[in-house]
Symmetry: C2
Subunit: 213 residues, 2 copies
């Protein structure tokens, strides 16, 4: 199946464990389907539009270390925080809202691939959005972390698990959902088993199959 055969109408969100190749899969998928790819670009765009500095955005994920502790520290209720006025929100929540607005705007612009940033949660009520989760064996992720991100053999594993935890905490805090819960995704794939390029092909197959009904 080639990109040109696909009468694409879907937006694809990709959530992924650190080192699973989810970002690479998203990038290759977008290229294959000839649609835009958003990851950090999204943050940059959000930062520019909302006037927040890019550095502030980069720290958001790390700060959301625990939804309960975090909300206590922020002096608010984790469950009602998105319903109160923008100006009463913490800086981190304001950034999350700005990102959410960007993601919603992108969704109106047509098909794209969006990696991370709770995009699956933000677009949960949108039609024609396909949510994908990519995970992989820890050994595979460790090898990728060392090879691609220059982690040392000694602390690669610890770093991976910590980064996963950051992602989970960030997601769980902002969504009140559980990161990596199978029911949040139309399709979940183990990338080290089927392979990065095959995972791209499989997602493209899923889109083709689901769109033909």
């Amino acid at each position: 199946m080639e990109g040109r055969d696909v009468k694409l109408k879907s937006i694809i969100t990709i959530s992924r464990q650190f080192g699973s190749g989810g970002r690479e899969i998203g990038e290759k998928l977008a290229k294959k389907l000839d649609i835009p790819f958003y990851d950090r670009e999204l943050i940059t765009r959000a930062a520019k539009e909302s006037g927040f500095s890019e550095a502030a955005f980069e720290n958001v994920e790390k700060k959301a270390t625990n939804s309960l502790l975090y909300s206590i520290a922020m002096g608010m209720n984790a469950y009602g925080s998105h319903d109160i006025g923008f100006t009463h929100l913490s800086l981190d929540d304001q950034i999350f809202l700005a990102q959410s607005n960007v993601i919603r705007k992108l969704a109106l612009e047509g098909p794209s691939v969006i990696v991370g940033r709770c995009a699956d949660y933000i677009l949960r009520d949108y039609k024609d959005v396909i949510h994908v989760f990519i995970w992989a064996d820890l050994k595979f992720r460790k090898e990728r972390a060392i090879k691609l991100y220059n982690y040392s053999e000694e602390n690669a594993e610890e770093s991976i698990l910590k980064l996963d935890k950051h992602r989970a905490n960030y997601y769980n805090y902002h969504s009140n959902e559980k990161w990596g819960r199978v029911e949040n995704y139309h399709l979940s794939i183990r990338s080290d088993h089927v392979g990065i390029d095959n995972a791209v092909e499989l997602i493209a197959d899923y889109i083709k199959l689901s769109e033909r009904g």
Copy 2:
């Protein structure tokens, strides 16, 4: 992709939420790939080989209502129960062991599709086994339960959730793993979104892609 094109070496296990069409998907996949399909047949075979009555097997899942309560009631430790001698096990555990032995024997016979019975856990260390999880929206499952299994409109939802709980408890008790956890499956698919027949095709695609490496 037709069955004849597939140089199949894999066994496919399918775990599924009640009413998601997982059994139907398994049956159609086996037909497409021209390999055996095992579900209740497996129980019959296990029952015959081990001498237990089929009725005793049918009740196993319902009895495993809660791994902790269950193990207390059985007067044993849920964690060590598989390591003690066969004759010291409860009847239910003996049946589970007999089923496990049958599944392991089937795995030696070549490619097949095995639905349920903790087959993914039992074959977790086997090579060339692909574990699939099928889930679906509750509305879809309710409609199937009413249409295919004659559940009443009034209690279909309650029954579905109860049956899911039975499956989860049965799985969690015997595996000390968590049923429906994304990391236990190579591939997880939302059947009501992509459709039953498309899910079959997608699994066949996954097998083809993973076997070509």
